[in-house]
């Protein structure tokens, strides 16, 4: 194949990549005079080229995603251990706890997470493949010599400082800062989520149709707020990890809504006599106490765990973002 001679793949960048879409794969290839970033989808590929002589800098910023992943899997392990403690027939939960522990170890072995950008005169582009600092190190080890060869040497700090002191505008000094977003809505979203977690806990111990209806209404509000937050955070300076949390929350809320819909449908079909309205449905729903139904108990426990994790992490990150934003505004 002629293509194989033109490009060689950068080795050592493989492994597990938590992609924004399961149907998209990002790879990096070295050409004779440029770096090729390939975004592969099921039916087509998109290409972006970065010529070695044009690359000004590579920016690598550490993120908290690795810690978030560890926290999430740690929670699953904790759930498993809790279930082992209270439950007989614990083979499934041992496998559950063991598998999640392995994921934690794998995540730790892969090293800290990061987000990597490449800067040229015209743009600052993210390289989605490079999500681990170890991968960035391997990438730079291969790319740096090629760039320095194309540009005729290494970066001269003295020249840069001299130019800066003489007041010259240097190439690449375009206004590429993202849209500023205070993060108020994000804070509100995760606060709502925390309240929702509280409602689920109350529902676990006290069966009342009012709680069911309140939780349903709050779910709708959270879903709408989630969508608004997604719009607000697009191309803004909101932290990458926080953005991922909002997406994760959307997925979870979507799952809750879907599961709740089918469960309600199932319950509604079973309503053969009496009044048929939402209050009656909520009454019927609340009669299925988690204390009596084991699988429902686990559903509640898992929901509480996930919602609490998302809400607390989101609250902490939103608060930090607002603090940084406020500090930037004061300057």
């Amino acid at each position: 194949m002629a293509g194989q001679k033109k490009y060689r793949r950068i080795r050592g960048l493989g492994g597990i990549v938590i992609a924004s879409s399961l149907s998209t794969n990002h790879t990096l290839w070295l050409g004779d005079n440029h770096l090729l970033s390939v975004k592969s989808r099921p039916f087509w590929e998109d290409y972006r080229r970065f010529y070695y002589k044009d690359i000004q800098s590579v920016i690598c910023r550490k993120t908290h995603m690795g810690k978030v992943i560890n926290a999430l899997f740690g929670l699953f392990v904790g759930l498993g251990l809790l279930a082992i403690h209270y439950e007989t027939g614990t083979v499934f939960w041992w496998i559950w706890a063991g598998a999640n522990s392995l994921f934690i170890l794998l995540n730790i072995s892969m090293g800290p997470t990061c987000v990597c950008h490449i800067q040229t005169a015209a743009q600052v582009e993210k390289l989605p493949r490079l999500v681990r600092i170890k991968k960035v190190d391997r990438f730079l080890a291969v790319l740096k010599p090629l760039i320095e060869k194309a540009q005729g040497g290494t970066w001269d700090r003295t020249a840069a400082e001299t130019s800066r002191n003489s007041g010259q505008t240097l190439p690449g000094e375009t206004d590429s800062s993202m849209r500023h977003e205070p993060g108020t809505l994000h804070l509100g979203l995760f606060l709502m989520l925390l309240i929702f977690a509280g409602l689920i806990v109350i529902d676990l111990f006290w069966d009342h149709p009012g709680i069911i209806l309140a939780a349903a209404a709050l779910t709708v509000i959270i879903a709408l707020l989630n969508i608004v937050c997604l719009v607000k955070q697009y191309q803004s300076n909101i932290d990458h990890t926080l953005q991922k949390l909002v997406w994760g929350n959307l997925v979870f809320v979507g799952f809750l809504v879907t599961a709740g819909f089918f469960y309600s449908l199932f319950m509604a079909v079973g309503m053969t006599m009496g009044r048929k309205n939402y209050w009656a449905l909520a009454e019927l729903y609340s009669r299925n106490s988690p204390g009596d139904v084991v699988w429902l108990q686990y559903c509640y426990i898992i929901s509480i765990a996930v919602v609490l994790t998302l809400s607390l992490l989101g609250l902490v990150m939103s608060w930090k973002h607002r603090r940084i934003s406020a500090g930037g505004n004061q300057e």
């Binding site: 194949m1 293509g3 194989q4 001679k5 033109k6 490009y7 790879t27 005079n33 440029h34 090729l36 390939v38 592969s40 099921p42 039916f43 087509w44 590929e45 998109d46 290409y47 080229r49 002589k53 044009d54 690359i55 000004q56 800098s57 590579v58 920016i59 690598c60 910023r61 550490k62 987000v115 950008h117 800067q119 005169a121 600092i133 960035v136 730079l140 760039i147 320095e148 540009q151 005729g152 290494t154 970066w155 001269d156 700090r157 020249a159 840069a160 400082e161 130019s163 800066r164 240097l170 190439p171 690449g172 000094e173 590429s176 800062s177 300076n237 990458h240 940084i324 500090g327 930037g328």
Partner: protein, 187 residues
């Protein structure tokens, strides 16, 4: 210069090429910057306004009043510094660039390619789960494989293995349908 990818704050040159993660002055995110010479070397814009020509000098094909600088590597037309587009270690004129992109003649201008082999493979494999659609998708797969066998594939190079598997699976599906229909008719 270089700005933090989180908060957009400009990062001082003393933090470039240190090889370690250093906190951003504004948001304190650990950032590592590897800078290269093109960050501080300004682009060469000299001579763009050069319009003076003398007798016996070649002139630009698109600007007869401007002195020619280089010929286009693709069509050979003389180009002034304004019309010259540095591309792939050579020079190209705007017309060749536009045509090359439109007609997919210059590979390095391509930003997207359709992967007919992946499409054929998905068309062959995915409907198997539902069984019935394969009566339509199997012949469609065969058509795709034959029609696009020689079409340009991924720019980074791929073998024909996907086409081969898709063709084989489609043939098996057609064979299974034929076998089933034959027995149905017999009954």
């Amino acid at each position: 210069m270089v700005k933090c990818s989180k908060c957009g704050h400009e990062i001082g040159v003393d933090r470039y090429n240190t090889g370690v993660l250093l906190p951003c002055p504004s948001c304190k995110s650990p950032v590592r910057i590897d800078a290269f010479p093109s960050l501080t070397n300004p682009p060469d814009h000299s001579g763009l306004a050069d319009t003076s020509i003398f007798d016996q000098e070649a002139v630009c094909f698109f600007h007869p009043t401007k002195k020619a600088f280089v010929p286009c590597n693709h069509c050979g037309r003389f180009l002034c510094k304004l019309c010259d587009i540095p591309f792939d270690d050579g020079h190209i004129c705007p017309v060749c660039l536009a045509l090359g992109q439109k007609e997919h003649k210059i590979e390095k201008l391509e930003r997207q390619r359709i992967l007919y082999d992946s499409a054929a493979l998905i068309l062959a494999l995915l409907p198997v789960m539902m069984v019935w659609p394969t009566i339509l998708t199997a012949p469609a797969t065969i058509f795709l494989v034959i029609r696009f066998w020689k079409a340009p594939n991924s720019i980074v190079g791929r073998t024909k293995i996907r086409f081969t598997i898709a063709f084989t699976v489609a043939l098996i599906e057609i064979g299974a349908w034929g076998f089933g229909l034959y027995h149905l008719i017999r009954i």
